[in-house]
Amino acid sequence: MKPIIPPAEGETLLPADEYYGYDNGFFIHTADNFFSLEINGMTQARYDYSVIKEQPDDYGFQLRRTNLFFSGHVIDDSWKYVVGAQAGPDGTFAVLDAYIVKIFSENSLAQLGQFPTPFLRAYAISVTRQLAVEDSLVAKYFSTRDITGASYLYEQDWFKWQAAVANGYFTPSYDQNQDVIDQEFQNGQSYAVMSRLELKPFGTWKEFRDYNSPYGNEKGLLLGMGIAYQDDQSLLGTQDISGTVDLTFQGSGWSTFAMSAINTDYTNHETTYGAQAQGGVFVDEDQNTVELFSRYEWGQGQQDQDLSLLTSGFNYYIDPRHLKFTADFGYAFSSMGASWADETDGWFETDEKGQWVVRTQLQLVV
């Protein structure tokens, strides 16, 4: 049997204090660093209050997300793994991410399994690093979410390109754990291809991992565009194509983001458009603890379902990256059609304008 080659004589093993510890996750390495395991967890405890005209108010606590993630490498650093489980408000754990990564060089890698698809920037950003309590309804509608397939990524200092081939992707629904892929859609008769290109004239990739730009971050600009196509050969028989462009511009203590997206359903001859713009600013320069934000989103959906929504609020970072309290208030200037409504996050289908939602959330990340 092929041995796991021990370190050569005189080769230094990891010092004992590097075997285990915490570095953005609890970790344990073998002394020779052939194997590693990192454990992360996250919970989002939330209270929502929704007021919908002509309907009873809706309110309650929920555990919006409870995540357990295991990741690391086997044999050498070029083979990595991620197994992530998530429970939504219904409390059932399901696979969120589970994939194997092969790193070919410092610029390229491939992955196989279930992973976030390379299309919409909003979905590429972790739910723990969003600006508001929750992603926009526009992002949720156009997102291709996590999907099972294979992808390739190539990255340079100023651009990044990723492409994937996969089963057909998730479509909008009221699923309680909507981050988790709709496996029923992976019916063995559908496929999807998608690709995303990002250009970064200045800034660092790491600082674009979130929408929050505290004081100390350097100025950065990111331009992105994505395209996705799916074909379902089953009885649904749908074919659709989506596209998106986005721009992120941020600096020390402030961040802005704008995007637009389009989806055309060839089968039903329907096209949906959406756009959003948002900005955040830290108001305490010394401590980077309080961030105010606002977001406007607009959409025009199937059967003339329009969306016009304004959300404002604040983040209070009790501990940056680990403990965050967020509160926001959203107001709908339009009715809320079935295409856009998302009951899990407080937005209910209604023909009346003027629905509003208050949400508060405490988020813990370990």
Binding site: A16, I28, F35, F93, T148, N167
Partner: protein, 428 residues
């Protein structure tokens, strides 16, 4: 003393679902009087005093990796192992004729198994535990194996919980150590899978015997659900409170090592070995279905340095319907073809079956099966990273009893269905 030991273990088992502190004090005290060797804690556990330095493990033995990440406390009274498994797969299948509403071609990526396992020992190394969860292609995590085991002596043990039942050899071998991308349809039909109950086992250098008494097991005919996405996980619907089963398996190993029979793959470093197994199972379901059936299997494994062969036969008889008996058999072989006999393994398998079941409880449903599968394994790192690809062809139509959509074999009405599968497997 041994009988006292067993008595005490049985008493402990009765309270196994309760927190340790809920065990009646008088029961513990009575047991302590009979057997002072058993140091069952009735108060919070405290680590040994500093002066007991000879019992303290060095740091390097308290955590690390040894077929799983582990962490132990300093005096080795508790341990935790963590293991994980990912099987990412692509399937393409083609059936010449399919039932209405289905397409002739079927293809998809799937995460066939995503496993998270926690195991270890507590109090002393004779008490071990396993907590294993698995998500099938549907992505939902469910309990796979969960049990507590007690080693009475070096070669005897008992366990209680949910575990692999001691019947079919192919099922007892981990999905990570199979020869092909997936177990055979024959084994899936006859398998008793996991079930909840108790088990007793004994083993020496040549013999191994296990017997289990459980709730009824995931079943053959009436309960087969070809669309079940996580079939490894026990079907709790069947554990309806009105069923039971008894299962036993005997293995004889005239030569070879037990460790080398844990998988169907025999690497170059392995010795020549022979394993013969025979097993029987009986289950009774007293609910409305009123099922009573008996099953049996025999198998033989012969392997050596860089090669392996395996053959088995199995049957199940519905004791309520004389005309309802099913038979199956398979034979397979693997051969390493690289110089070091550890990287590239070619394999082939033939399986045959004839099922006569009462799916609708009215008329017998007779279905034949004849499939050949061939392919290769490429071990990027043995035990940890493996790429497997195989191709299967059916010489018969695939009936509902045998079909398994999750693994690519769909119900078809004509012979000639074929399935191509490729899988990357990672084990930590």
């Amino acid at each position: 003393m041994k009988s006292t030991h067993l008595l005490y273990s049985t008493l402990c088992s009765l309270f196994i679902a309760l927190p340790v502190y809920a065990i009646p004090t008088d029961t513990v005290e009575a047991a302590d009087e009979q057997d002072q060797e058993m140091d069952f804690p009735d108060e919070p556990y405290y680590p040994p005093e500093e002066e007991e330095d000879d019992k303290i493990l060095p740091l390097s033995e308290r955590m690390g990796y040894n077929d799983g990440f582990f962490i132990r406390n300093a005096d080795n009274t508790f341990s935790l192992f963590f293991n994980g498994l990912l099987q990412a797969r692509y399937i393409y299948s083609h059936a010449p004729e399919v039932p209405a509403g289905e397409t002739t071609d079927y293809y998809r990526f799937e995460l066939r198994r995503t496993d998270l396992y926690f195991s270890g020992h507590f109090l002393d190394e004779s008490w071990t535990y396993v907590l294993g969860t698995e998500a099938g292609p549907d992505g939902v995590f469910a309990v796979d194996d969960v049990y507590i085991a007690k080693a009475f002596t070096e070669g005897t043990w008992g366990q209680v919980g949910q575990f692999s039942t001691p019947f079919l050899r192919e099922t007892l071998i981990s999905s990570t150590r199979q020869l092909t991308v997936e177990r055979s349809l024959v084994s899936k039909f006859f398998s008793t899978n996991n079930s909840t109950g108790v088990l007793f086992g004994t083993e020496d250098d040549e013999w191994k015997w296990e017997a289990a008494f459980t709730n009824g097991y995931f079943a053959h005919d009436e309960y087969v659900d070809e669309t079940d996405e996580n079939e490894d996980v026990v079907d709790h619907d069947f554990q309806n409170g009105q069923s039971y089963s008894a299962i036993t398996r005997l293995e004889f190993k005239p030569f070879g090592e037990w460790e080398e029979f844990r998988g169907f793959n025999s690497f170059g470093e392995n010795n020549v070995g022979l394993l013969i197994g025979v097993a029987a199972a009986y289950q009774r379901d007293n609910d409305n279905a009123d099922i009573e059936e008996a099953s049996g299997t025999v198998d033989i494994t012969l392997q050596g340095s860089g090669w392996s062969t395996f053959a088995m036969g199995a049957f199940t008889q519905d004791l309520q319907n004389d005309d309802s008996a099913s038979y199956g058999a398979q034979i397979q072989g693997g051969l390493f073809v690289d110089e070091d006999l550890d990287t590239v393994e070619l394999f082939s398998r033939y399986e045959w079956g004839q099922s006569n079941t009462h799916v609708d409880f009215i008329e017998p449903d007779n279905e034949d099966l004849s499939i050949v599968t061939a392919g290769f394994n490429y071990y990027i790192y043995p035990r940890h990273l493996k790429l497997s690809t195989d191709f299967g062809y059916s010489f018969t139509a695939i009936g509902e009893n045998w079909a398994n959509t999750t693994d690519g074999w769909r119900t078809s009405t004509e012979s000639g269905e074929w399935v191509a599968r490729s899988q990357l497997q990672l084990v930590i």
